[in-house]
Amino acid sequence: MSTALARNTKVMNRFDLTSRLVAKLKNEEAVVGGIGNTNFDLWAAGHRQQNFYMLGSMGLAFPIALGVALAQPQRRVFALEGDGSLLMQLGCLSTIATLAPKNLTMVIMDNGIYQITGAQPTPAAASADLIAIALASGLANSAWAADEEDFERLIEQSLVADGPTLIGVRIDDKPGTGSTPRDPVQIRERFMQGLGVRQPL
């Protein structure tokens, strides 16, 4: 029996959860969306200038968000990452645990598959528990969300936590809802404007 089946957590939907998160954002919080469906659903949930959409560099959503969090400690930074992406860069969990930025909230969208390439199962799908890995990496505020209400509660809780938070959500196998325009310079420039680092010409 797989670990995923043993979890007492509802299978939710990426777009729905992303929309719930975005609806809560009132303070120009930064959001970094990992490659593929994760940032497609972030785009579809309604573009904001404080969103950064990744177009490659699988696995770097959490490191990029960590960099933003270090540069702007007064701003809340969210990072949305797929389970397959995180598997590429598990070491970053230890780095984040060591630096322990209070303003970083991470979400793992875990469907156990590489949905976008044809729904092949990840090597972790049947055996590993990403939240257990995060806890063992030193990220004490790591938990699976039991359902949508629990996800929203964990998001709220992360805003007042004394360290970084990681929230695992089990999601279905649906593809992303939208498609992010693939213009890396414009994405980067708008993000910097959204963070107050740049002014438009």
Binding site: V32, L60, G67, Q72, T95, L99, P184, L195, G196
Partner: protein, 177 residues
């Protein structure tokens, strides 16, 4: 001025030049040659310096920090650079991130590990294929000029740069050290 500059060691020059250019964030994956630099960076409260598990991670952190308004530079050795082709091509170059990289050059001028010497040969072709600025630093009397100007150029042109620290500059690593 010139005499005072040349009296500094290569790693003192790196530290001072980073500071002069307000580069505070320095993630690294260590190398024997970089040890005195890493030690001195840790000892200076101006810097936020820390190890990452992998070089790609440091690229992500420096890129995120740049977009958030904080300047950074990363330290690694040649074999670490060899892990970066994907992230250089998919975020740093197309997003115009002024990633400043210091690469301790292993694999040449006295290398004793065949794997290091082979992986070293991949470094400049990767940099050239992405049309990335890079300099091989061999002389102490030129080093401050190259480092300071390259950092300023990276930031003003929003383009990455690799400063390759040759054994001619650092002494390198040999079998007996």
């Amino acid at each position: 001025m010139a005499a005072a500059e040349t009296a500094l060691s290569w790693h003192q020059i790196v530290l001072q030049t980073l500071k002069r250019n307000d580069i505070r964030l320095v993630p690294y994956v260590p190398d024997r040659v970089l040890t005195p630099l890493i030690r001195n960076l840790h000892a200076d409260p101006f810097f936020n310096v820390f190890a990452t598990a992998r070089e790609e991670e440091a690229v992500g952190i420096v890129s995120g920090a740049w977009m958030g308004g904080m300047r950074g530079a990363m330290l690694m050795q040649t074999s670490g650079f060899a892990t970066l082709a994907n992230v250089l091509a998919s975020i740093v170059v197309p997003s115009q991130i002024p990633l400043i990289m210091f690469v301790s050059e292993r694999g040449t001028l006295g290398e004793f590990n065949w794997g290091q010497s082979l992986v070293c040969r991949t470094m400049r072709p990767v940099l050239d294929s992405l049309a990335m600025e890079h300099h091989t630093c061999t002389r102490l009397d030129e080093f401050e000029f190259i480092t300071d100007r390259s950092i300023k150029q990276a930031i003003t042109t929003q383009a990455p740069v690799a400063l390759i620290l040759s054994p001619l500059l650092t002494g390198g690593k040999t079998l007996d050290k």
